[in-house]
Amino acid sequence: MSDQVQSEVRVIPDSVPFRRELYSRILKGCMFLCIGITAALVAFLILYILVRAVPYFSWEILTTKPSYLKGTIGVLPDILNTVYLVLTALVIVLPLGVGAAIYLNEYARSKKLVKIIEYAVETLAGIPSIIYGLVGMLFFCQFLGLQTSLLAGALTLVIMSIPVIIRTTQESLKTVPSGYREGAYGLGAARWHMIRTVVLPCCIDGIVTGCILAAGRMLGESAALLFTAGFAHALHGYIDGITSSGATLTVALYVYAKEQGEFEVAFVIAAILLVLCFITNYFAAAFGRHMHKIHADSK
């Protein structure tokens, strides 16, 4: 071990070798370039849609239905169809998803069953919507005889969005400190009573977040609805609407843009969808943050 000479002078060089400097600069440049492209892309999409849509926005287009007689186009039926569809699907998926999450987190004893169910849920999350559309058509429209209707579409969306609800509910169930549960058990509470009175109230935020996320996905869904919910633009009340064929905003956008070449109304719908997407994201993030804050506080 004599390779270090005692009197060696060690001076710190001012710069790193050029190759290292170049490597770092190139990589940093790539990062700036890519984030720049990504940001520009988002900005372009938002501005392009809004700028093209604004001139066509009018009270009339939002509050009427399309009329071949008058030659006008209105998106009110599509808005109502979307509302009917999303509300119906949410009302059904909520107990299913929350219930499944409660089973997985609070009741399940068999690790194996939990694994199988969780695998099933992950599988559901990965299936593309066109396949949901096909199976929804075969099962709900044909086998159950619902015909092409918003109800069939809603039921299809229920299966599609179960994973979202289960996942967010499970996450918030996990944030409930186990001390709460032990406390309730210690007072002699039974399991369901304890869940109803102690656990569920703590994770309302998580469940709401799940609902908003699920609603966001439903609003944006189209491939699954093409063969299940149909294309009609008739103006209906809830009961008639849910049992008859109807286009949601996304399906209407597809039909107007691709098949009819009505770009004005298509831009209006695209802008509405963009705004809805923004709103759902905003609220999901707000509730999500609230949930994490509670989690952090309880730690």
Partner: protein, 251 residues
């Protein structure tokens, strides 16, 4: 003896918090300097200044002077990457990278531009030998470093630090996460390394300071209370607070 670090009127703030006050000390070449003191006394903060790892915390401000072999490192334009090559560091928790043992050791030399395979092989073997772990690991150089025991991981980290041929080794409580047997192996190793390197070690363990160090610095609440030869500090401390601390009255 030569001085390797010359610290004069050094102050450090975390935001508004004045964490180190007017530190003055000279660290000798080829010696082991132990920094002791209760948690939060600033000893870890101080050691991280010696290779400018504190730069990573945005709110840190420094004043005064620390010279490494005559070159100013506080608030100077010195190239920190080259400084860190000279002044290596071993952390409290062993932190081998999630790659093979060989790649862990070769990481530093490769970063500094050595690509030649036989040269790398040589450096890896020498570093592992210097860290007294070559015989244990020579047959599993391609295995993941994460599979080693805690003590082996820490000696691997020392070998990794040696591979860039540093001048100084900073060790921030290198044995606090290890069992007694691994600890004594590391201590033997540190004593061996003293021949070729200057070592600054932060330790919570006063016996360790006594066993291995030549000089001891006692920090308390951001002040350097006393700095002297280790046997002097532990036999006749000049300051009452040092005495209280080493006799276990607080800490």
């Amino acid at each position: 003896m030569e001085t390797i670090f010359d610290v004069e009127n050094f102050n450090l703030w975390y935001g508004e918090n004045h964490a180190l006050h007017n530190i003055n000390m000279q660290i000798e070449k080829n010696s082991i300097t132990a920094l002791i003191g209760p948690s939060g006394c600033g000893k870890s903060t101080f050691i991280k200044t010696l290779n400018r790892m504190n730069d990573l915390i945005p709110s840190v401000r420094l004043s005064g002077s620390i010279k490494y072999r005559g070159q100013e490192i506080v608030n100077s334009k010195i190239n920190v990457y080259n400084l860190r090559k000279e002044v290596g560091m071993v952390f409290q928790k062993p932190n081998p990278f999630p790659m093979s043992i060989y790649d862990n050791i070769a990481y530093g030399p490769r970063t500094h531009g050595i690509k030649n395979k036989s040269q790398l092989n040589e450096i890896v073997e020498k570093s592992l030998r210097d860290a007294a772990i070559f015989d244990e690991l020579k047959d599993r150089l391609k295995d993941s470093a994460l599979g080693l025991s805690g003590g082996q991981q820490q000696r691997l980290c020392i070998a990794r630090a040696l591979a860039v041929k540093p001048d100084v080794l900073l060790m921030d409580e290198p044995t606090s996460a290890l069992d007694p047997i691994s600890t004594s192996k590391i201590e033997e190793l540190v004593l061996e390394l003293k021949k070729n390197y200057s070592i600054v070690i932060v330790t919570h363990n006063m016996q360790q300071a006594v066993r291995i160090s030549d000089y001891t610095a006692f920090f308390l609440l951001g002040d350097l209370v006393e700095f002297d030869k280790t046997d002097k500090i532990f036999s006749q401390p000049a300051d009452k607070r040092t005495e209280d601390y080493i006799t276990g009255r607080f800490g």
